[in-house]
Symmetry: D2
């Protein structure tokens, strides 16, 4: 699909505040991230500069609620099709793969390719990504979790979970939070990072508000301080 | 947990007909497989003897309906907790990992370790596994699919899907089928295999009936020929 | 909407076996009932000849799964609209009201009008009708239940529930059964009858098979003996 | 069940602001209404003083999400039981019937009995009541709707819907609103009133906050101005 305004591409700043906050503040145009890239990039950003993670081994298995497909009527979003059904789609070809790779490569300082697999879940809102990365050195879950906590220490909307706890879309529903849980499978030497967002808030309009707050010099959390609603 | 009848272990045959049919026929005791191992083993069995797949790279990301947790009342299976929620659990520690490894190692002829990640889905029945394996040689999805079709050509309950189509739990619901879809992510050199079963049929009682049919010398599909009910 | 084949109207027999079995057997053309009329008519048929029920007081409050709206993509059947939503529609004007009235009037021997209120439920299959009727004489739930049991004693697909138990769509899912539970609110002098069917089986294709069996002289339950699948 | 503090009963004021606002303001103790009574009483309160409605004919058919049953683990709230299931329970005997009758009788100035039928829906939040009342004089839906609009004109949390539109739990989810839609079935002379609330907000904690605001002299809508979240 050709871009309708290619002249604007060079001006646009990628609006993921956790990796681009300063640029967003002075941007004239902000490109609001997709829901899948938000979820995957927040799960892997803390690994980009570390030489103990094999960045060529990243696999992101993502599970999205149906609202990710928009509100247009189609057979694919018909209640009778989606309800009581879990399915994979777009494996190896999904349009969000380049967005993930472009911005992670930029963080890592070299070109990285990832395997990204989207799945459709029988729920309205929520997006969970489970990301697998080979570790190059031995570490345990606490050590990895501490690294994530350090990385996100200043972030108002990222919560690194207690070790042994994994992300659940229900806990971030209707909020701008991204919950991240980490685990190390020491037998196979892999890190497993789970990240959960509400695809319509942190994955869409909530993040747009966060970006607007940054652009305008407002408090970054303005209008976004709801803790989520449960159940 | 100590086994209550360790003396019977040596007599028991693992009841996954697709890899153990002849032994089941003459068994005195059949161990009916768990739902997760059924789904994962059927996804990877065709790779066990092939030297073009790196068997040490296997990652299985599985998504199960709530009925996999049984009918006992608990907060974890309460409607208000499960509904509209997708979560990971037991990462790196789930009790089904050894069952998967034991039987896949037996097929491969050497000890193999896999990363297995179970997830809970907001639906009653169904189990989808998405399995990632590094390929050691270049191949496309058609080539891989043909290998799977050859491997399962005689199987009454395994359906290898058309290339470009991925497994969907909805299509096997209430049936004893396992649907398998294969893809190759040629950029990263990984195979992505999706397999879907009804966890209560092929993942439990349906497979038990299939085993009984084999044990008793009945037609293997007796009582199991329902095509599934949709929607 | 004008009927496209008005000439056939006089030949068609209404295919609700519980009230029309003999006519169906010799029919040339059978009109398969709608899901709502099946559910409501089975709930009230046993009252049609009784002078202890005020037939002018009938109110049917029906709750249908989304599959009742068909498989056509529309905003109204979009997952994001139907999921986690219960709503009323077509109150006072639904096209199934005349079908209910025509056939109940025929049973009662005089013209009867009913209030019929359809509702949309966040589930795929199933239809529950709760029907209210003023009683003209004092009776308790057991007495009313016994009357229903007598009325349906020969019916292979109607199950009158134990007193104190009410119909649940889950218990008839994927089956051709109609479950009926009765209650008497002795304080207000009203009978409350609940009836549950699978709208796609007894409310559609299952009933069509039952009618074909009758037409062809087959066993009425041929192909329909599945007890339903739970959960 | 005996009341544990009978001495406090005489001091307690029933906390439904739409019918009891002035008493709540000066109360020492407020009894927060149940979710079912809130939904039913708001649907019928405008009829209490009108001699064109037959108050002895009231039937309330209510449909509640599972959260109405609380968070305690039980088979009845197990996902596998509730999901894809619609059922009636407690017909003719539900403990909320006396609460409805007591407060409606108080409005009407004489003892009124109603038939109240609760149902369980496969969703987490939301409560829809469909209420039937015989009219003693001929009126159309617009006339009835105008009466409701007049009655609730000053209410911040009651929205009377456009004629021809009916209440939908999805539209009030996560809000303190009660939506009311009215219809007249002119053929049978009955009014059909639908009312929808979020059972955990207007049906529970939201209403408690509204009462506290009144008690403390705060703006009645303080902390409650969220419009609801959709989808």
């Amino acid at each position: 699909m050709p871009h309708s305004q290619p002249g604007l591409l060079s001006e646009a700043v990628y609006g993921l505040p956790e990796i681009n906050r300063e640029k967003i503040k002075s941007a004239k145009l902000v490109a609001n991230p997709g829901c899948y890239p938000t979820s995957v990039l927040l799960a892997i950003a803390p690994l980009a500069k570390e030489d103990w993670a094999n960045l060529d081994s990243i696999i992101a298995d993502s599970k999205s609620g149906v609202s990710g497909a928009g509100r247009k009527a189609s057979l694919g979003t018909h209640f009778g099709e989606c309800n009581e059904a879990v399915s994979a789609y777009g494996l190896g070809t999904h349009r969000h793969t380049p967005e993930i790779e472009q911005h992670f490569s930029s963080l890592a300082g070299r070109e990285i390719q990832v395997t990204f697999s989207p799945h459709l879940m029988p729920m309205t809102r929520g997006l969970l990504s489970t990301v697998y990365v080979d570790l190059k050195k031995s570490m345990d879950a606490d050590e990895l979790a501490n690294h994530y906590r350090d990385y996100y220490r200043q972030e108002p909307f990222v919560r690194v979970l207690k070790t042994g706890t994994f992300a659940n879309t229900h806990h971030v529903k209707h909020s701008n939070y991204c919950d991240i849980g980490v685990q190390v499978d020491s037998r196979t030497g892999r890190a497993i990072i789970t990240s959960a967002i509400d695809n319509l808030i942190k994955g869409a309009s909530g993040q747009a508000v966060q970006n607007m707050n940054l652009l305008r010099g407002f408090d970054e959390t303005l209008g976004l301080d709801a803790p989520g609603l449960y159940p």
